[in-house]
Amino acid sequence: MTCGCCQNRLPVTYRIAEVRRETPFVQTFVFPVSLGARPGQFVMVWLPGVDEVPMSVANDDGKKLQITFFAVGDTTKKLAGLKKGDLVGLRGPFGTHYAWKPKQTIVLVAGGYGAAPMYFAASEAAKDKCTLMAIIGARSKEHLLYLDAFSRLPKTTVSIATDDGSQGHKGFNVDLLKEFLEGKEKKPDQVFACGPERMLVAVSDLCAEHSVPCQLSLERYMKCGYGLCGNCVINGVRMCVDGPVVQNDAARAFTEFGKVHRDHLGKKHTL
């Protein structure tokens, strides 16, 4: 458990140092602060007077922290309207992170805006001389994220899948993972995955079938971020404390994985 004194549980507002447009729908904010976040951890992002939402950290290099988000909900649409110098509150980092050992071979499966935290994991694992294979999937070419950044990493190959075939393999990123795991090449030490839960279920099944260790990032509705409110539970386990990154064995033991999530009232919904 992260203790209260080394985790920022009270939001502090920072001025946006840089705004980068990644795709027509996605942008990155860079903040002039490090929260000491590790890949896979999240921060609560507060737009004063509007709302506060959880977001995966897209990078934290010890000096600057960045988030990459898709303007899809009310809050993220309002966030998307901000510019350099505007104030955004941050608290965290919260939750578990991806873990690896030096020189491991890791396949990273990213779906949609899951590419941002996957890039953070890849760039940190690259520092530990890991050999990386990034499989990046999106609906279409214009939704692909962080391609250039991935291709600049050492010992990293990048494969692409788009639903409509506008770039790379026509179909799912999971198809490429399946092909790789069923191929003649040596099995990777680990698979990391971040993306829609249906994709995670498919990755989980494939990794279980091929006995490859796998870490998945599970997303649930968050309020406090540090284990008090209980809103983000999967089978009673708080994803803000014991997630969002979980080992495949743990994910597969959850009967709610891939099936059930809960809204802000705690009401069950099927995925």
Partner: protein, 314 residues
Amino acid sequence: MHLSQTVLGVTFKNPTVLASGIWGITASSWRRVAQSGAGGVTTKSLWLTEHKGHPNPTIISTPHWTLNAVGVPDAGIEKAREEIGEYNAQKPVPLIANIIANTVENYGKTAAEIVTLKPDFIEVNISCPNVEDEFGKPFACSVRDASAVTKAVKAVSGKTPVFIKLSPNVDDIGAIASACAEAGADGFTVINTLGPGMAIDLRSRLPILANKVGGMSGPGIKPLAVRCIADVYRATGGKLPIIGTGGVMTGEDAIEFLLAGATLIGIGTAVSLRGAEVFRLVCEEMAAWCDTEGVKKPAELIGGMHRALSAQKS
């Protein structure tokens, strides 16, 4: 060390209880908390019908305090039926169903539904300080209102013991407790959160909580809880059990609550400071303290401060 206690016919394997509003939204969560060593669990406040909470930020903390204005969100009685039903089908530790409503009449209606779900106790939240914009001053702030809610709930609760959860934000908590006891309360939960309080972000100059204000909890409020427990114990002659809650972090904090007059110990904010294992840790620390001090079982300590004061006088 015998940490178990039987309270109004219900046996708790140890005196620690998960406080309402913490973690406890689902049956599987209550079960996880029980696995972590809690002697009992309390549900988040249950409404008869769906009730929306406040927007985020709703919960913020420093190591000294937590401010919350979650706004008591709940999906309503059908969800309670499903979750409590699932929990009771294989119940590891006693369940306290915490209920809330907006009128005296609706407290009665909610209690009538909840009692059919067979919780071990009903805990009546009449003291939430972060829905005042919506409902006005809490019922716990008036002798008349607190008594009326108690009567309404007791009229339908049958054999299920009813605990009234009191507010520290009153001039005379003892007078409120006495009125509830006269109205038939079987016990009390002391205290709900303090305040409300406020925290301001310096650069934006805005309150951080979307609701602007929120109830305070955490280690900093413990002395207030101790005083309130002592007041309620004295006002009711030590005859009714008290679930003492507010800032308990350690076994020694729990011992202090027992001395003030608590029978069971509610643990809330500490879950985010010492982790889920806080229940087991508090129990181990209580047991170790009792061993060192030659106390055979913690239950001997309940109300000990009042007896020590009397002994001093005589």
